[in-house]
């Protein structure tokens, strides 16, 4: 017969019971205090639960100041949209001598932005003169499907990059649209129809 291990002491006490010692009130006081201070600190540091505030930045105002300004965003957007124009007008806005007019220092771009907006919306053909040089080409209505904001952005980009001018707003583009509608003109512009519709073209 195998020897049983008698070293195991399997005697046991009954199931344990829980005593009734009171938790001191001071602990609850400390917890409340710490909880309050913690809430206060978290409130100070949590940036109002903003989704876009990441360490090491600390507040929505800070991140808003760091973020690109409205003007920079419009410029950037315009630059993106200009990719549709650079095929003809070149990435540097220089155009092709004799064929495609430049956008740099162009009297057609400076001044009232509604002229440029109208051209983007409906296209332009026929003989025109830009900075004294004659051109006789055709531009498609690239912006026919673009929104006011998009046209405003690309015009802002062109004007700010090469013409030293300020922002073009979506409202100005909308005004141009209204003028086009009022004039009743359909299809591509030429110099004469532009003048007739109220968009003063430069000589």
């Amino acid at each position: 017969m195998e020897e049983k291990d008698s070293n195991l002491n399997l005697k046991e006490h009954g199931e344990p019971a829980a005593g009734n010692s009171q938790m001191p009130v001071s602990i609850m006081v400390v917890l409340t205090l710490l909880g309050y201070i913690g809430c206060y600190k978290v409130d100070e540091l949590n940036a109002n639960f903003a989704a876009n505030v990441h360490a090491p930045f600390g507040s929505p105002a800070e991140v808003a100041s760091l973020a690109p300004s409205e003007a920079e965003l419009i410029f950037g957007k315009g630059k993106q949209i200009y990719a549709n124009c650079q095929g003809c007008h070149q990435p540097n806005g220089g155009g092709t001598p004799g064929q495609i007019p430049p956008l740099v220092n162009s009297s057609w771009v400076k001044g009232d932005p509604k002229l440029a907006a109208a051209i983007v919306l409906n296209g332009l053909q026929g003989a025109i003169a830009v900075n004294g040089t004659p051109y006789n080409g055709a531009m498609t209505a690239v912006g026919a499907a673009w929104s006011d904001e998009e046209i405003a952005a690309v015009l802002t980009y062109i004007r700010q990059s090469w013409n030293g001018e300020e922002l073009v707003t979506a409202e100005q583009v909308a005004e141009a649209r209204t003028m086009i509608k009022d004039s009743g003109h359909q299809g591509t512009w030429n110099k004469v129809s532009l003048d007739a519709a109220g968009f003063a073209t430069p000589e």
């Binding site: 876009n52 990441h54 800070e62 100041s65 690109p68 965003l73 957007k77 993106q80």
Partner: protein, 381 residues
């Protein structure tokens, strides 16, 4: 505490607090995040090989030794004014005498004064030519305007500084032609000049101030002085940026389109948050994945030879174009001497994924901080 149903409900309630705060809250907030960055570009998911590479990265448990999270650190702010507002005294009051004493500041406002006087003179000469105008009064006005312009030009020329183009840039006015010549500016601006004017900035803080110290200045500049400016964080003790690991901290939008986030737990190997910008040499990447100790480099990354096709090299065989090579003392040789090693699709996918890991583009919520010495503008020119 004696009724099990109460304990059960209590447990559910207690755990739901952390569930709400750590699962539901953040997840729903991130799910609402937009990919659009506001300037016509947006974040986009990986596609093609890079997307497949994410799976290879996960399959091999790379996230046990590598992180994809660059962290923040301490930094200071530099306020860089790109264009002053109209009011010189107000701006001087806001930025403080220390910076306003700089010659560039004075020159910029002098240029503004000249441009203003020039416009006034033009307007006056228009008034003279206008129909039905009081010619005498208009000519008197024109004379006054001409005098004012001369004064402004003299005042501008009295301020001596080398940085005339920067002063012109931050003034926000355009001065061309003969007037430019009279003021010491180039009459015909070269591309470089134009660029310098367009990108001109004027720093009005020391690059060590914290947000709390500059926030009032920032608000005043924007709302009261109407100035245009950029805030540039300048890394102070920011290990990941200063050590070149990454260009900025990782934020949640960096993981927006990942199907598996895998931010990593430990940096036994380097952080991969910007590895796509740091390691552009595809061959070097393959060599590292194949055998990180090739060429005598010290590394404890296990070799991943099974991601490659390895065959014995023929005698005098020239290595194919896609063979993985290393540069040793004997020139460019195969990473495994005597063998031709070419990457399989899995290796290509992994490399494509790694090259897609970049954080060198600033986001609106995480611009790229600068790491440089700040020149002290209070000394002026």
């Amino acid at each position: 505490m004696n009724k099990s149903p109460w304990i059960f409900l209590g447990v559910l309630f207690a755990m739901s607090l952390s569930w709400w705060g750590m699962v539901f809250g953040p997840a729903s907030q991130v799910n609402a995040a937009k990919a659009d960055l506001g300037d016509g570009t947006s974040l986009h998911p990986r596609s093609g090989l890079a997307q497949q590479g994410e799976q290879i990265y996960r399959e091999n448990g790379c996230y046990y030794c590598h992180t994809r999270t660059a962290t923040g650190g301490t930094f200071g702010y530099e306020i860089q004014i790109t264009q002053f507002g109209a009011d010189e005294d107000l701006t001087r009051e806001i930025i403080g005498e220390k910076f306003a004493a700089n010659k560039i500041f004075e020159k910029a406002f002098a240029f503004k004064a000249v441009a203003g006087a020039n416009d006034a003179k033009k307007a006056a000469s228009e008034a003279v030519k206008a129909e039905g105008a009081d010619v005498e009064a208009a000519e008197a006005g024109l004379e006054q305007a001409a005098e004012a312009l001369t004064e402004a030009k003299t005042a501008a020329n009295a301020i001596k500084t080398e940085e005339t183009l920067i002063a012109l840039g931050v003034s926000g006015v355009t001065i061309e032609g003969d007037l430019a010549g009279e003021l010491g500016l180039p009459i015909e601006m070269s591309e470089a000049d134009k660029s310098e004017v367009a990108n001109a900035t004027f720093a009005v803080s020391n690059g060590i101030e914290q947000w709390d110290e500059i926030k009032d200045t920032v608000r005043a500049l924007k709302d009261r002085a109407g100035a245009q400016f950029k805030l540039l964080p300048v890394a102070d003790e920011w290990p990941d940026v200063v050590n070149g690991v990454a260009r900025r901290q990782s934020v949640s939008r960096d993981f927006l389109f990942d199907s598996h986030a895998m931010p990593g737990v430990m940096r036994v190997g380097p952080c991969l948050s910007n590895v796509g910008a740091r390691q552009t040499d595809l061959n070097a990447l393959y060599a590292k994945i194949y055998n990180s100790q090739a060429g005598g480099q010290s590394s404890h990354m296990p070799p991943y030879k099974y991601l490659f096709n390895v065959r014995a090299a023929e005698e005098d065989e020239t290595l194919p174009a896609d063979a993985v090579t290393i540069s040793t003392g004997d020139g460019v040789t195969s990473v495994e001497s005597g063998f031709v090693v070419t990457p399989t699709t899995k290796a290509r996918a992994l490399a494509a994924y790694l090259q897609s890991l970049r954080n060198d583009k600033g986001l609106p919520e995480a611009p790229l901080p600068a790491v440089r010495e700040i020149s002290n503008p209070e000394e002026g020119e």
